[in-house]
Subunit: 402 residues, 2 copies
């Protein structure tokens, strides 16, 4: 059986059903036996759910020891009662675990503007803290409990050596684009037993998110509840990472790998997606410009419907590049299309090429597509991940009623 | 019969079928008997069609006398041959009309990267210049000839007095979102017999476009071929408008009214649209911030699918406001939803309200919807227009093959 979050030293978890949702699991608890260095990144949306606001305050001390996630209710736009509910949950969890209330990370995902069932949650916390567990099955259940309309669990694990010590790191994530209206949230929780300074942990996280979670797109909408947090409790026993040396670099790379794995899993579960698409932009003047171009293409409804229809419609791709806000020279752009195994050049120097239409249409039948845009203006590159755009997206998002 | 472009003094037109498209009209010619003050705005896409590049050069002298539009072929991304084709068309038209080649506006709409049928176009120009006409039926045909997948013609006319002289102004437009892949273009040609300095004409146009054409959205994609141009030949005989006085203000307002009328017609014809939606943002700190917020909501796939599904899902609206890039205070936002006749408050101070769900669902059955967002941070307001998002959009854009 694959390793999971319970294989990281010093973490116990619980995932269960408490009745926010009608049948599925809807409460997740994660607990570190000792206070951990903590870091997080949050949604850039100006409208932020109450748990996000509270967690930001709690993490000012860069330390956390527990996470509570409720699923089925976003606890967003709920006024003073919403904030009271989030605080109450944190206080009760802290009391039950005998930890500082500032060391609780609170997260939620679900419908916006639905009253938060504070009493139900408080009761459930009291009942479930005693059954926190480090058995593998508990890890499985906690990954399951943060799902909303996800069709599969998103988990990852890695271990590597820092100095002579084996370090473990695991993560769980949820999100399937905005498959279910108002249940848009992307959540990701990483735990590790590495010993690291919290400021460096934050740097490693921010650096990694830039190239992973921030490079996936399902429909360009940003939730009020998005959060990626990481806790590192130091129980691996490595010498504390306190500067940006080789060991920091190794940890950052491993963290980025894990986040990339989870981010790609989210896109694969995108609403109504029939194809997973990798958008690579090379020879950009800067990584940031490359990212901007890649994301604009990945977000284009026209590009995405064309890929759903297996149409090598590169005109839509170059039009998206042109409106990305990056100062590109259109006459230098080469475009390649295809599957993850075979690519074909379809445009050169910004202009049409006679390519084998029949062959490329066959290539576009693959469920793993690649779009490669060479800007030919510099040395940098970036990658975004997305999915195609099917009838299912409209059905899911129009037929659902609040 | 309604007045059209042929009711503006000194303009003759021709719209006909020359075989770029299989059956429908595909060539439009507009001619002013005398050189006219000319102004234009163009797509902001960095990838620009050859006709756009050529027209920009031609309008450096701020004068135009003729317009040629081909429909069915965008003449974009066609390399040196594409530019040669655009130039050839301008030269031949200028020769036939005995005007300066710099005074020809060239526009095109259709598939990107498809070789431009230069010979066919040249032959057609030679044949059709002699039948330019100011009969009403010709005005009808020219409005028809610029259509691609539009389901109806977009025309407008107005007349008003500048001093003691009656001034006429007419416009034709095309665009139905990106209903047909690669046929995304929004084109609009305004002609008037007003006498005005070309720099003021450009100012009036830029000012008007900001609040009209730039405030409509069907799917957030920007074409490589968009253009709005205006020609004013002075034959109304009014005293030339040479400064920003009352008469300039009147002309600018009338121009803005005409552009708004045409812009709204384009949105009404949006691909797969079942509802026309007006998004009003009030009490913004600046008009620009209001516009940014209004456009972000209008562009949200999630808001648009909710409206298609008649769901009063204000959580999606406030989430769109929050990610608009404008520094808003979410706790001040009020949201109203409804038809153009009845609105209901659904959120107050950024938070949920208990509203009559049944009644609002009835209101949302209307084909003319309104979304009103009060930011309560200032005095300015802005309006955007859009349409809902139906299965048809995906069908149209996925089933079409290049």
């Amino acid at each position: 059986m694959q390793k999971n979050i319970t294989d990281v030293t010093g973490f116990k978890v619980r995932g269960c059903h408490i009745g926010i949702k009608s049948k599925r699991r809807d409460l997740a608890l994660i607990f570190s036996e000792v206070p951990a260095s903590a870091a997080a990144v949050y949604t850039q949306n100006k409208v932020q759910a109450h748990p996000i606001k509270l967690t930001k305050k709690h993490l000012e001390n860069k330390t956390a020891q527990a996470i509570i996630v409720t699923s089925g209710n976003a606890n967003a736009c709920n006024g003073p009662k919403g904030m009271q509910g989030a605080k109450k949950a944190a206080i009760v969890l802290a009391t039950e675990l005998d930890i500082s209330v500032d060391d609780v990370i609170v997260a939620a995902t679900g419908v916006i503007g639905e009253p938060f069932p504070t009493d139900k949650v408080v009761k459930a916390i009291r009942k479930n803290v005693s059954v926190l567990s480090d058995r593998k099955i508990a890890g499985d259940m906690v990954a399951n409990a943060i799902m909303t309309t996800d069709t599969f669990q998103k988990e990852g694990f890695s271990s590597f050596k820092i100095g002579k010590k084996k370090v473990n790191m695991a993560g769980i994530a949820k999100g399937s684009g905005m498959i279910h209206p108002n249940m848009a949230t992307m959540l990701c929780f990483i735990v590790s037993d590495v010993n690291i300074d919290p400021d460096l942990l934050q740097d490693a996280l921010s650096e990694s998110v830039k190239r992973t979670f921030n490079m996936i797109t399902v429909d360009g909408d940003t939730s009020t509840n998005d959060m990626v947090s990481v806790m590192a409790n130091g129980l691996a026993g490595n010498e504390r990472i306190t500067e940006k040396d080789e060991e920091y670099e190794l940890f950052q790379r491993k963290l980025e790998d894990l986040l990339r794995h989870l981010a790609k899993a989210i896109v694969s579960d995108g609403e109504g997606a029939t194809k997973f698409v990798t958008y690579t932009v090379t020879n950009a003047r800067s990584e940031e410009e490359g990212r901007k171009v890649a994301k604009t293409i990945a977000n284009s409804n026209l590009v995405r419907t064309a890929l759903f229809g297996r149409d090598p419609n590169w005109g839509r791709i170059i039009a998206a590049v042109g409106r990305s806000g990056v100062d590109i020279d259109p006459d230098k752009i080469d475009i390649y299309l295809g599957s993850s195994k075979n690519m074909m050049k379809v445009a050169e120097n910004g202009n049409r090429l006679d390519f084998d239409r029949k062959r490329i249409k066959l290539m576009l039948k693959s469920s793993q597509l690649c779009v490669l845009v060479k800007l030919n203006q510099g040395e940098k590159e970036a990658t975004a991940w997305g999915c195609d755009f099917s009838y299912e997206y409209v059905r899911i998002n129009a037929e659902y009623h609040t």
